[in-house]
Amino acid sequence: MQSGIPSSKMFYILIAIVAVSSLYFVVPGVIVAEETPRTFLTHTGLVIQTTGEVIDPIGYDGDDLDFDPEKFMKDFDYGEITVLDDGTVLREFYITARDDQIMEVSPGVFYNVWTFNDSVPGPTIRATEGDLVRIHFTNEGSKPHSLHFHGIHKAEMDGVFESIGTGGQFTYEFYAEPAGLHLYHCHVHPVEEHIAHGLYGAYIVDPKEPREPADEFVFVLNGLDTDFDGENNFYAANTIPFYYQHHPIEINANQNIRAYVVNILEFDAVNNFHLHGTLFHHYPAGTDTVPSGYNDMLTMSQGDRQILEFNYKYPGLYMFHAHNTEFSEKGWVSSFLVKENTDDFDIQVEYDDII
């Protein structure tokens, strides 16, 4: 009755199949030869000894970044300046929207950013009160986009009801008013998505009579929802989590500091800003000449912005961060390195661009 392979051989075949298939699950990848452990210092000051790799959201030296927070914080775009016949200063800006770029936002984490001029946040637009601002907007993205500026302007320059399609262009034109700190962002629906991906920037209108000279910085408080679950995975001042903690911002003691702080955080209703070692005078939207308060805490809702003026009495390393510690432990933590002021100190802000 029995023919072909005897049943005992069948049994061995079965055993072999079982053995091979269980090996498939047992052997955990490639067995790596034991190496001598190396020691690492982490961003929280811990010491790790490991034969493997360290995953710590620091490690940028700034050069390999697509976006440089160091440069961004002092990078003001004053536009191309023409003085019109009536004496009005015309400032022309060129902004291009894209939505196809992948940026390394934290070491090893790659995220599809939507950008104005290849940057998140977009360029900081700066004009003087009364200037004519003309923005040549081009949409090189695959989706419709727009530019919506906060401030006083005509309805047709509001960038809300006319979205600019792929390859489209639009020229926004308005007078820079009022003096203060404003912002701009894409206003195409779903607005949350367009903002969360990075389509926003700061817009500064300097008063006709310039503010007191100071060392100036822009901090756009933002977040990144890299897994699209409606919660931010990362928080930061100027996009890159933990960046200024490891690249402390160098300032001088007894030097006036002015920070332009814009909160554009999505998904979380409230963001805040806490400064160590000193207090600041703050001006909501920068529209008043009298400070609203003298504090070391600032609570801001989405779209809120404040101008902060302060100086440090003592040199040293001082943090500034979200006092909402969840945000700070996900990257919105920064620091100032305050150095001893020298007598022949030159004001760092260049005013030659301003007429």
Binding site: V18, F25, P28, G29, V30, V32, F40, T42, H43, T44, L46, I48, Q49, T50, T51, G52, E53, V54, I55, D56, P57, V105, S106, P107, G108, V109, F110, Y111, L224, T226, D227, N233, P241, E326, E329, K330, G331
Partner: protein, 387 residues
């Protein structure tokens, strides 16, 4: 009629060769053509351990594509960590994520990892529990637990032997049926436990439920063959049919106890259950019935005490090995496999007993059969409530 050997070999190999060519074609020239849809990466956190000042998570790439693990967090707060051997994980590859963290005992934690595309995967632990040091103390402790839940109750159960032996034929049938009831319950219990482990610990990529079904059937068929041989041999040798059946039951229960021991050992090691004396009492009471199951078929023969102890050890000792293996290196995969083997073995034993009873008496007493099975199931249910 008989074809030549080369032709036979070619006919065996040809489909395999064609299959290989097709796979090579699909992966090679046709791969771009077949690329559609979005491939989602997946990482599973298989195990979380708490040591001195560190939380250690074993992560496995259970998705279809290679990933890099680039960030670790505790309770959704970013923490610096080390990853061994390295950050890149190929399919099925595992890595150990070591997060220096001053954790608090008894507190719940959620451990997360983020991969290169920004997706975060997380797993929660109800209560942090210091992972056990693999030393001689733990070895003895786990061994004791295995001994208490496996060997001792079975030995106690075997003590029913003289009582059952003195019963009449109907009562004997009742007890055999009772054993069947016990075993059916045990088998179902093992399947449910395996499914639970599959859901909680095994990544879906392993197809846990299908694996359970496959292993149960394989185990059933394998033991059916072995059992047939054993009972056939019994007809020609001194080995009685009753003893052969008892041996089969002992082996089946042995597999079951190995799986159960793995689960208990793992639960201890992972700190997932507070292992109270009460739990041990529950397991022990429950497992006493296993001794009864082994003893029942023996009553038709003259069984030597040594043989009975031997059977008890075959059934009970695997629990000790189970707690050791489960406690020192928990593998949800193998726990599941052994539970499924146990289930298959037990269902096979139920069939053997049924056939044995049918062969023994021409008129199978329906009353004692149904009463026995029902009583067995109920007793098992009641003792299981104690756990």
């Amino acid at each position: 009629m008989t074809s030549s050997k080369p032709v036979l070999a070619i006919s065996a190999v040809a489909p395999i060769v064609l299959l290989i060519i097709m796979v090579a074609f699909l992966l090679g020239p046709a791969s771009s053509f077949l690329q559609f849809g979005i491939v989602l990466p997946e990482v599973s956190i298989e195990k979380i351990e708490f040591t001195g000042n560190e939380i250690q998570a074993t992560v496995r790439n259970t998705g279809p594509v290679n990933v890099n693990v680039v960030l670790a967090d505790v309770n959704d707060r970013i923490q610096p960590a080390a990853i061994e051997p390295d950050t890149s994980l190929e399919r099925f590859e595992t890595a150990l994520v070591r997060i220096p963290f001053d954790w608090n005992e008894g507190q719940p934690y959620e451990i997360g990892v983020t991969i290169d595309d920004g997706t975060r995967f997380a797993k929660g632990i109800d209560a942090a529990f210091p992972s056990l040091e693999p030393d001689i103390d733990l070895f003895v402790f786990l061994g004791m637990i295995g001994f208490l839940i496996g060997v001792v109750p079975i030995m106690i159960g075997l003590l029913w032997y003289p009582f059952i032996k003195k019963l009449g034929k109907n009562s004997f049938n009742f007890f055999l049926a009772f054993t069947m009831g016990l075993l059916i319950f045990l088998g179902i219990d093992a399947v449910l436990e395996a499914v639970e482990i599959s859901e909680n610990h095994l990544s879906s990529v392993f197809n846990g439920e299908l694996l359970i079904a496959t292993v149960i059937i394989l185990s059933f068929l394998a033991l059916y063959g072995v059992g047939k041989k054993l009972t056939q041999k019994a007809e020609f040798s001194k080995l009685s049919k009753g003893l052969a059946i008892s041996l089969m039951i002992a082996i089946g229960i042995g597999f079951h106890n190995l799986g159960e021991g793995l689960a208990v050992g793992a639960a201890i090691a992972l700190g997932e259950v507070a292992l109270s004396t009460f739990l041990i009492v529950g397991f022990a009471t429950h497992n006493t019935t296993e001794g009864l199951a082994i003893a029942a078929p023996l009553t038709s023969t003259k069984a030597k005490i040594v043989k009975m102890i031997g059977l008890g050890l075959i059934a009970g000792i695997p629990a000790i090995f189970g707690t050791w293996i489960g406690g020192f290196s928990f593998s949800p995969f193998f726990t599941l496999v052994f539970l499924a083997i146990g289930a298959g073995a037990i269902f096979q034993v139920v069939l053997s007993i049924f056939q044995y009873m049918k062969g023994k008496s021409d008129l199978l007493s329906n009353t004692s059969l149904f009463a026995g099975i029902s009583a067995g199931l109920l007793v098992m249910y009641l003792t299981s409530v104690l756990i």
